[in-house]
């Protein structure tokens, strides 16, 4: 095997040359700093692009209306991976929410406050997390508690909403 490693054949030279390392595009940092949820399709006719734009606007309006009516899950960062959501919230709101698993949909950040979106029993719910101690109940929240220098707020309308505990606590 050592011999095979040392002997450089023609194909090895070609591969070394043609698969060499390249520079990462500058915009990669922006993609990490402000993660993009979806990427636009590059193969699209003009008509398809127009139709897609109209559909996107219509969908955005519907989503906005739905969001205001239901407090629903329009999220800036969509992922069910606790590590990724935790990292994104930490990067964008400076809040470390010790997420573990379960029910996660994604997260929003707004004015230094994080909103962890999760889904239970077919309903979209959110756990609000703020760095300010003793923040008052907001957005219809009826549960608030402090932990690790952060205030957590939750709007519960059904016992199963408390499954939010499982977001941070194993077996919660």
């Amino acid at each position: 095997m050592v011999k095979a490693e040392l002997r450089k054949t023609g194909i090895e030279a070609v591969l070394e040359q043609r698969l060499a390392r390249v520079s990462a595009p500058e915009e990669l940092w922006d993609r990490v700093r402000y993660p993009r949820v979806e990427r636009p399709s590059v193969h699209m006719s003009v008509n398809a692009a127009r139709m897609s734009a109209c559909a996107t606007v219509a969908a955005a309006i519907m989503l906005l209306v739905w969001h205001f009516h239901t407090g629903g899950a329009a999220v800036q960062f969509r992922s069910s991976d606790p590590g990724m959501v935790r990292a994104w919230v930490q990067a964008n709101a400076g809040i470390d929410v010790p997420l573990h698993s379960g029910y996660l949909v994604g997260a929003n950040v707004n004015h230094g406050r994080a909103e962890i979106a999760y889904r239970v029993g077919g309903r979209d719910l959110s756990l609000l997390v703020s760095n300010s101690r003793g923040a008052s109940l907001k957005n219809g929240a009826n549960f608030a508690w402090a932990a690790g220098g952060q205030t957590y707020m939750l709007a519960c309308t059904a016992p199963e909403d408390l499954k939010a505990c499982a977001l941070c606590h194993l077996g919660g």
Binding site: T9, I11, R21, S23, A24, P25, L28, A87
Partner: protein, 190 residues
């Protein structure tokens, strides 16, 4: 692959939640991560997705990194897993048309040379892209990163013998399919 004192300090700062330190770590490893993703996927757009996911995963799990482990091996494992897990959204080789257009629009004396180079790169990349995933990742780690069989084995989680046999199988396929490039590449049999 041993961390020096500066690397250690940067990683420890990341573990304390220092975002500037994460930027330093990003700058130090972005080319490595992006190149592996690009050479594996063959698609710059997909490579950006994989690289983004790798760094988000890194940011999210840096707390779990143990100081006595090799950071580079750990990072390689993250990017390799992201490559292997990445959903194949349908292979698109069209982005490489960008390279062809750049080559054609270059100054006249360089245009032909660049066109040839781009064509060769595309051929190699496209044929590598058709290898089975477990052979492709080994080829990328070997030729994009220049890693030894032992290092690749540690990252991929198999024996050095398996690495050697995967590379051997890949070489045979690539040699057959890339035979038309030999004349063009001439003296590259170094």
């Amino acid at each position: 692959m041993v961390l020096d004192a500066n690397d250690r300090e940067v990683i420890e700062a990341c573990q304390r939640g220092d975002y500037d330190a994460f930027r330093v770590l990003f700058e130090a490893h972005k080319d490595r991560v992006y190149s592996i993703a690009l050479r594996y996927s063959g698609d710059p757009s997909e490579a950006m997705d994989i690289a983004q996911e790798t760094f988000l995963k890194l940011l999210g799990s840096i707390q779990d990194f143990r100081a006595d482990a090799s950071f580079e091996s750990w990072l390689y494992r993250i990017v390799v897993n992201r490559c292997l897990d990445h959903k194949r959204r349908g292979r698109r080789w069209m982005p490489f048309l960008d390279g062809l257009l750049d080559a054609v629009s270059a100054p006249a004396e360089n245009a032909l040379h660049r066109l040839l180079r781009v064509e060769q790169e595309q051929s190699v990349q496209s044929i590598v892209g058709k290898l089975p995933a477990e052979q492709r990742i080994v080829v990328v780690l070997r030729y994009t990163e220049g890693l030894s069989y032992d290092q690749i084995a540690e990252i991929v989680g198999c024996s050095p013998g398996t690495v050697a046999s995967r590379l051997n199988r890949a070489h045979k396929v690539l040699e057959r399919r890339l035979s038309h490039l030999r004349g063009v590449l001439g003296g590259s049999n170094g």
